[in-house]
């Protein structure tokens, strides 16, 4: 494994991110609209028992959403690299596939977290409840674990799907249900039994629950349990990504 290679792949992701201003704005705007419109619209008629304001309830869920979509879309860079031929330059270099996979994972995780944090701050500006310093650090931890898992998933999918048009479709097809089932926009505790059972298989549910726990202090499960389940999921995704990356050819 080469620390230098991991670092330079991360660095490349950072450079792209900072140069693509349109991308930063668009990835912030979409979740922001969810937060503002859904938060204010539903907030006017909805009170969540045990929480109060709907926007307080919604904000952690939307932060998770931003991370979810951004992290998974990291895989698209693998497709672009393949399309533009740069993947060959990477694959022929004397570095292990694991280093390449890790570099990309860290890159995707960093950009996802930057966006998650920005969204959390924006939520605060429009009146959602904000955590204290300790809660903020814990929220950061949840964001990191959530992002790593879904970057891993995105890279795993990207190593299999070579069509740049199909990739976002597959991602949306996969991520949308995970997001809706996660309890990000409605409390799972009050959902019908069958829906709850399905939701408990959804790893995002534990990310959302954990984030909500550390940001507004209300959660369905103990925070350590959320973190443990999410951690196991993320580890599994990274291993899956690494395995598929290793088998990938140009």
């Amino acid at each position: 494994m080469s620390a230098q290679a991991i670092y330079v792949l991360w660095l490349r992701d950072m450079k792209w991110f900072l140069r693509a201003k349109a991308r930063i704005i668009s990835t912030i705007v979409m979740p922001f609209l969810w937060l503002a419109i859904l938060g204010m619209g539903l907030g006017a008629v909805t009170q969540i028992p045990g929480v109060g304001n709907y926007i307080d309830f919604l904000a952690p869920g939307i932060v998770a959403m931003a991370i979810l979509f951004n992290a998974t879309m990291t895989g698209v860079s693998v497709l672009w690299d393949r399309q533009f031929g740069f993947l060959k330059e990477i694959l022929v270099a004397p570095v292990s596939r694991i280093s390449i996979m890790l570099g990309r994972t860290f890159g995707g995780t960093t950009t996802s977290i930057i966006q998650g944090v920005m969204l959390l701050l924006v939520a605060g500006l429009i009146g959602a409840k904000m955590p204290g310093p300790a809660g903020f650090l814990l929220a950061l931890l949840f964001m990191i674990v959530l992002a790593i898992g879904f970057v891993g998933l995105g890279l795993a999918i990207a190593s299999r799907i070579t069509d740049p048009v199909a990739f976002p479709l597959v991602i949306n097809f996969l991520i949308m249900p995970l997001f809706f089932l996660s309890g990000a926009i409605f409390p799972l505790g009050m959902a019908p039994e069958w829906l709850r059972v399905i939701a408990y298989i959804d790893p995002v549910a534990y990310g959302v629950d954990g984030l909500r726990g550390v940001i507004i202090g209300v959660s369905e499960f103990p925070i350590w349990l959320d973190l443990a389940i999410l951690g196991i999921f993320s580890l599994a995704m990274v291993l899956l990504g690494a395995y598929l990356f290793k088998k990938m050819s140009v």
């Binding site: 450079k15 060959k88 990477i90 004397p94």
Partner: protein, 328 residues
């Protein structure tokens, strides 16, 4: 020790044999050319030698290391310019080189020194800080060449290095390739389907067709094998005259391509007036005539019975050309 050594190297794709039991020995310091039409197996062979494609059969050693068993050792010893572009367009020229230096484990001081050196050699210093997407195709190619020898490889692979470039840029790239071979003492294996390129640059040329190497020698010897000049005659009834010319002592070989007769002739300049005479005496008329020394193309025709360019223009090739044109 040989720079490149292959033994029965074979690669199949779904029952199609792209490279067919190739035995190749390239000595250190050589500038070796693989000449063949598109789809002859050149790129597949290069991909196997640079370890990104496992062989179906046979073995290959590059810089003394087995490509299948010791890929990392091979990778540090080689530099590659792929046929299709392989730069990150969203980074600057310098950043592309820096990326390369880092993944090849070069220290910061070495990297900085080397980046300046290679940029200077390919004359790109002025544009080093511009994004690669603003480069012309020739500049991109030069940057790729600069990158490929930045880490001091022993051996370089250049897959169709001048494909799709204008004549001036091709000249420039040829100079760079010669400089790498002579000054930096790098063994070079290049593939091309331009015979003038192989002829001009390479000390030895292997002619490859349908995955097999069908002739291998230095360009001069390959051409000398034809023993004569190539005379082309445009005549009304090529078949009739082909039979007549076949009986002449000075004619070694006759081929009919459309309305043209291609003849391999000893002492071409003197033979041409005689041949025109023969046609005239039989009431025919020579519409056009050509006489030249043989090229590697003629060598190719002799071994395969067809021209090197005839196979161009397949759908897949057209698409690649299209993609290439848009990405360069």
């Amino acid at each position: 020790m040989r720079a490149i050594f292959t033994n029965g190297l074979t690669r199949e794709f779904n029952g199609l044999t792209a490279v067919d039991h190739v035995d190749l020995q390239i000595e250190k310091g050589e500038l070796f050319g693989l000449l063949g039409p598109n789809g002859a197996g050149k790129t597949t062979l290069i991909h196997m030698l640079c370890t990104i494609l496992p062989p179906t059969e046979g073995t290959a050693k590059v810089a003394g290391f087995d490509v299948y068993k010791e890929p990392d050792s091979v990778r540090t010893s080689i530099g590659i310019v792929f046929q299709d572009p392989s730069l990150d367009n969203r980074l600057t020229g310098k950043e592309n080189l820096d990326f390369h230096g880092r993944v090849y484990g070069m220290s910061k001081t070495l990297r900085e020194k080397r980046i300046d050196e290679v940029l200077k050699l390919v004359e790109l210093e002025d544009r080093a800080s511009a994004l690669v997407e603003t480069y012309s195709s020739g500049m991109k190619r030069r940057l790729e060449i600069a990158r490929s020898f930045m880490h001091h490889p022993e051996i370089m692979f250049l897959d169709e290095p001048t494909l799709g470039l204008d004549p001036q840029t091709r000249r420039k790239i040829w100079e760079h390739i010669q400089m790498l071979n002579k000054q930096e003492k790098i063994t070079i294996l290049l593939t091309t389907h331009y015979m003038d390129e192989a002829d001009y640059l390479c000390g030895r040329v292997g002619i490859i067709d349908h995955g097999r190497i069908i002739a291998l020698d230095n360009p001069k010897k390959l051409k000398d094998q034809l023993e004569g000049d190539i005379v082309s005659l445009e005549v009304p009834q090529p078949k009739k005259y082909a039979e007549i010319f076949q009986r002449r002592k000075y004619v070694k070989e006759v081929k009919i391509v459309g309305d043209y007769l291609y003849l391999t002739v000893t002492g071409g300049e003197k033979a041409v007036p005689k041949m025109i005479d023969i046609v005239a005496r039989r009431g025919g008329k020579v519409r056009s005539v050509g006489c030249r020394s043989p090229t590697l193309e003629d060598v190719f025709i002799r071994y395969t019975g067809r021209g090197i360019r005839e196979e161009e223009g397949g759908i897949k090739e057209q698409m690649r050309a299209h993609v290439r044109a848009h990405m360069r």
